[in-house]
């Protein structure tokens, strides 16, 4: 399993060289630290999917002594591992450039990443290869562009929910948020495993 996670680094050696300038770009452009954390986390796991949507890759992985459950588990665990590493690197970069950030930025960035992963990972196994990376990238940019506006709009108009959330104490809010995200991530993991088990290559 560890080998499957490590595979991504071997596979993306060259792209990893792009990783640093990519992050620096966002830092220099003065993006919100939370967004920078999100973008950094997305880099490796979604690049991996660009490889894994190919039929040949699946034939290879499935012909090696791995089970399908392990292959999917390596995607979901790998995403967390690489997220943690990416956050580490990004924090260092932000620190080096003297840009202030808080633990809340990290929390927001990683929660958004996990949510995004939870929603898109199953899609990679539902849609035909070739299209899905594009679909996911576009939907990500769209979400990033209009997502906050939608949230604000909902916050203004659905006062019942806003009031409920405002009424929660900070620890409850954090713990609740973490639990919800974890739950969604696990549901997504389970769903993808079931889909992948049934696939033919």
């Amino acid at each position: 399993m560890f080998n499957l996670i490590r595979r991504d680094v071997i596979l993306q050696k060259r792209q990893l060289l792009l990783f640093i300038p990519f992050i620096l770009f966002f830092i220099i452009m003065d993006s919100h630290p939370a967004l920078t954390f999100l973008i950094a986390s997305i880099f490796i796991p979604f690049n991996t999917y660009a490889y894994d949507e190919k039929v040949e890759t699946n034939i290879l992985l499935n012909s090696l002594p791995y089970t399908r459950t392990e292959i999917i588990a390596s995607r979901y665990l790998g995403a967390i591992v690489y997220m943690v590493l990416a956050i580490g690197v990004t924090s260092l970069a932000l620190f080096a450039f003297n840009k202030p950030f808080t633990i809340i930025d990290i929390a927001i960035g990683s929660s958004l990443f996990l949510l995004f992963a939870a929603f898109t990972f199953p899609l990679f196994h539902i849609f035909k290869p070739g299209y899905i990376s594009t679909v996911v990238m576009i939907s990500f940019l769209l979400l990033a562009a209009i997502g906050p506006a939608i949230v604000l709009f909902l916050a203004e108009h659905l006062t019942a929910i806003t009031d409920f959330i405002n009424g929660l104490s900070v620890p409850v809010l954090y713990i609740g948020g973490t639990l919800v995200i974890m739950l969604l991530y696990f549901i997504s993991w389970g769903t993808t495993t079931v889909i992948y088990q049934r696939k033919a290559f």
Binding site: N3, R6, L11, I59, N62, S63, P65, Y66, A200, F201
Partner: protein
């Protein structure tokens, strides 16, 4: 001698094609050639052996184990080579080895480098720059470096030039000297098999027509040539398929004894090549 692969009543349906009721045993320690036209169901059958496809009905067992419980144990013991390149094409062989090797408990680095040297493979060039023959050799080097007991190959000789094909066949023959290895490979170039196969499994239209030793095959089938005047409704029954021309007929029989009884010395009976058998069986298994 045991069976390394056992397919029992295996059926797989696709929208426009199906593989029906396959009963196939691959004998341990032999080379089995898997023949049939393009689209006969060879790749589908191989994919079911590799668990890339799950059969709709029937049982697939390798080394007497089933995939549900023993997937990893089974795959540890298989070396695979597919028709196309399945490795990440941008990577070089060294990196591919880095990805594949840790998957196997029995990976043998020394053996791998030995094959790399023997095949003259470059370690630092991207796989996509390899010729078809080199890609094939690279897959083979990887397939052979973890002491697999069973080597499964899907059309390994397709698209290779004749000299290279021969080299490959020689190599496979060499591999067989070593103890209990089993090789199962599909091809539609039947001349490959005359040289190295011990058993021939033949598929047609999604069905397994036969799985026999080369020796039995030669005993069971014969090519019969004679004048057109010998053919009539009764005598035609001895043949699987008849090819008629102005100079006479040529036909395949699976009942040599009966042919000898009916025609005696009036016909010429020859040993058919695999290609002859494939060609005539294509005309229909049932008697014309």
């Amino acid at each position: 001698m045991g069976n390394v692969v056992e397919l029992k009543n295996v059926t797989k349906n696709f929208e426009e094609f199906s593989v029906k009721n396959i009963n196939l045993q691959v004998k341990q320690g032999f080379v089995t050639g898997f023949i049939g036209e393009n689209g006969a169901g060879k790749s589908t059958t191989i994919k079911m052996m590799m668990n890339l496809l799950k059969p709709d009905a029937g049982e697939v067992k390798l080394f007497g184990l089933d995939y549900k419980k023993h997937e990893k144990t089974i795959k540890e013991r298989i070396g695979f080579v597919y028709d196309g390149n399945i490795f990440f094409e941008g990577l070089n062989l060294k990196d591919i080895k880095r990805i594949v090797a840790p998957a196997y408990k029995q990976w043998d680095d020394t053996l791998f480098y030995q094959y790399v040297e023997q095949f003259k493979l470059p370690l630092n060039k991207a796989i996509k720059t390899f010729s078809k023959g080199m890609q094939m050799k690279a897959s083979l080097a990887i397939a052979l470096s973890h002491h697999a007991e069973l080597i499964i190959m899907d059309e390994p000789t397709a698209g290779l030039d004749p000299i290279f094909r021969r080299e490959l066949l020689d190599l496979l023959q060499e591999l067989m000297i070593e103890g209990n290895r089993t090789i199962f490979f599909s091809t539609h170039i039947t001349t490959d098999l005359d040289r190295i196969a011990d058993y021939i499994a033949f598929m047609q239209n999604g069905e397994l027509v036969f799985n026999q030793s080369i020796h039995d095959l030669a005993e069971n089938y014969a090519l019969v040539k004679g004048g057109m005047d010998l053919l009539d409704r009764d005598t035609e029954k001895d043949f699987v398929h008849i090819h008629r021309s102005s100079t006479g007929f040529e036909a395949l029989t699976d009942n040599i004894k009966e042919v000898k009884n009916t025609f005696g010395n009036t016909v010429i009976i020859e040993r058919p090549s695999l290609e002859d058998i494939m060609y005539y069986l294509k005309g229909g298994i049932h008697h014309v």
